[in-house]
Symmetry: C2
Subunit: 483 residues, 2 copies
Amino acid sequence: MSKQELGITVKKDENVSEWYTQVVKKAGLADYAPVKGCMIIEPYGMKIWERIKKKFNKMIEDEVDNAYFPLLIPESYLEKEKDIVEGFDPEVAWVENAGKDGKLEERLAIRPTSESIIADYMSKNIRSYRDLPFRINQWANIMRWEATDTRPFLRTREFLWQEGHTAHKSEENATEEVLKRLGQYAELFEDIMAIPVLKGKKPEHDKFPGATVTTTVECLMPDGKSIQAGTSHNLGTNFAEAFEIEYEDENQKKNKCHTTSWGISTRSIGALILAHGDDKGLVMPPNIAPIEVVVVPILVGDNKEKVLEFSEKVKEELSSFRVKVDKNRDKSPGYKFNKWELKGVPLRIEVGPNEVEDKELTTVRRDNGEKQVLEFDGISDKVEEILEDVQYELYKKLEKSREENTRTAETLDEILDNIDTYGGYVKTAWCGEEECEAKVKDEVHAEIVLLPFDKDVRSSDVGSECAICGEKSEEVVYFAKTY
Amino acid sequence: MSKQELGITVKKDENVSEWYTQVVKKAGLADYAPVKGCMIIEPYGMKIWERIKKKFNKMIEDEVDNAYFPLLIPESYLEKEKDIVEGFDPEVAWVENAGKDGKLEERLAIRPTSESIIADYMSKNIRSYRDLPFRINQWANIMRWEATDTRPFLRTREFLWQEGHTAHKSEENATEEVLKRLGQYAELFEDIMAIPVLKGKKPEHDKFPGATVTTTVECLMPDGKSIQAGTSHNLGTNFAEAFEIEYEDENQKKNKCHTTSWGISTRSIGALILAHGDDKGLVMPPNIAPIEVVVVPILVGDNKEKVLEFSEKVKEELSSFRVKVDKNRDKSPGYKFNKWELKGVPLRIEVGPNEVEDKELTTVRRDNGEKQVLEFDGISDKVEEILEDVQYELYKKLEKSREENTRTAETLDEILDNIDTYGGYVKTAWCGEEECEAKVKDEVHAEIVLLPFDKDVRSSDVGSECAICGEKSEEVVYFAKTY
């Protein structure tokens, strides 16, 4: 890659779409695949996904087992739950011919989601209340043949995700589970990826097919659009009825289970890019960064070996962090600075002959460019402090931006005007009717992204009548354009 | 699961096929999927696969990057390399209809292997000799629509695997790579899974489609059949020519790259089950076991709380091992003994009121049933010693068995007779002609599993004429029935 190729040639706030495309490709996150709408996840993107996996597995591993379910689902299984088939049929890729014999007896769906096949597994493996709660998760590839425009990570026909599926004795237990996993998603986004989220539920007409309640974590991107970052669904007894998932209670009475499902996908990498990136490329929060610290030896004059030696010593001293020493002799320090800025490494440490002599290090923060000269002694503690501050500041910046970009509206005109002029979230009262939302959608392509759980938000002053039709309203909702 | 359901009802050496089916299901490794030939990998099976992943990633991570390539490959890509299309066409599952628009312009293969799509990626990303060696790996699901009988792990239409793909400057570098990865597979099987392997190459007519050389690690199962446990292929310049994978050398001259590919799959779990299992179920070598030590508290009389407390203390003391305390109060100790024997946990520790009083522990080895009473003090060192011995003994047992079941033959009759009477490996001289192999295949369904690398083997006394046709032979080969 030449120095030219490293540079992002558009400004993020002038053309976010082109900026995004360049960052994805130039930072080595993903590339287009020969099949339209699919992507190749390149090594640096994969490292981020592997860290997300590791962090989320850690959160759930005490309670949830990982398994692997088949890619192909018979059409008759999808048809057992009517909402699933209606919801996903338009997006399914079908296998009708396979192997030497060709034509199959029944066509097979490449999984658009696995409720039906896992519900069947649950029905075979749950007998008694002692088997509950029953929890299983898989990390897998998913295929949804989107008709709309696709973009790497944000909307692709094939993506990677985690789907958790659980069964419980009661409605109450299922609700608890749904909220627990939603809380873990919020933790993953806020504490690990430094992206503040709103937690809430989707309107009735926008629930997951087959769900009684769909909850969501939403994050506002700097360009004023919202990303649905993870969802957790209460499936009630819908799948239990369709697939006979039953348990015998303490009195030998048979009951239907209450099931849930919940997922996050490689879309979260799209959110990460958009949330923090700047005109130079990616900005990675330390907790998710594949590399937290890059050491760049400045190889000039006669002291090259000493500089390299000292660089390795720095790495050793920082062994509790993910550190890379960029020893490439073909590239200039300037090239390396650009490269690792593009890749968003939170902290750069420069080691030159002067640094070796003075036992000092020059550090540069990726997020705000702050440069410091630090003593080598005690460098590990100092780096820890800096990285913690980076993580904190990245979060705070987005939180502040969300605050500034959340506006209230009491009339349809105010909603439209706010979305049109500023973007961001518009908080308003809503009667619950889909047609009222449609009036906003038709005009400015914004939709209700969630009904927030937060009590302060709900009791806040947005009036008690639907901003659109004037009917009495019990719901506070957030409108926004979405990815 | 009742105690009845835990028991394996057939002996391994009386009906290995039925034994295998029972172990897979009863130990919670895998279940059948609604689509014939596919499987559900259940949590215990998945834990084993995750350990294999972790161990192998560790071996390659310094040199090889993980990525993710698309599931769907356009037919025109498969067709670019003629051997690939001939080799895999009869096993491909095709997507011809997808989404709202239905019929696709070109049919798409669910990947039977990813050479073609990764070769395309290489051709776009390799420019100069500085980009070489180029190494990339993915962990992914694969679909091969087998016509023959399928069995969980050993032969399934969908399986999970790792496929590494590399590009090099020269034939020599590619050969080095092929052998390095084969060596790592051998290490994985021998040191981690305690299964001795033979390393060698496949006959010309049995190479991977598109390869110039296919190397293999083969392991002999106790029932006398061989399993191809991993393969590593030199692809020469075949894919480089089909996909124009070129690099500019130091003199600005364009050259074709030499590429390789190498893979191991969930089949390795099948080998693990067959290699070590006994009439009570699985026997897991400690290095691969999801649980190395199970602590079973004997909850009788008044001291239940003290027994549980002491059990937890044992777990703490053994914190460097993967330990589970089975605290379930609904099940008897006898039930638990059976359960963890079925799952092959290498060491059981029993903690009852007597043990608490005497600060002693009763240990029972899964592999040979050896029972010991050990002092609590210093238990960690003692357990380490025992587990090392288990790992060693499991390996030695198979090595001895392979030695005893490797016979030489100098005539066709001797080959057939040995295979028919004993199974195992038959070592013989072979001229190189497929039709000579066919004579053995037709009679006893045994084939040439490899041409061993080992020099001692090759110079050993099997004559210098093909045992089948009598022509001059330079090759020593191993015949065996295969999985």
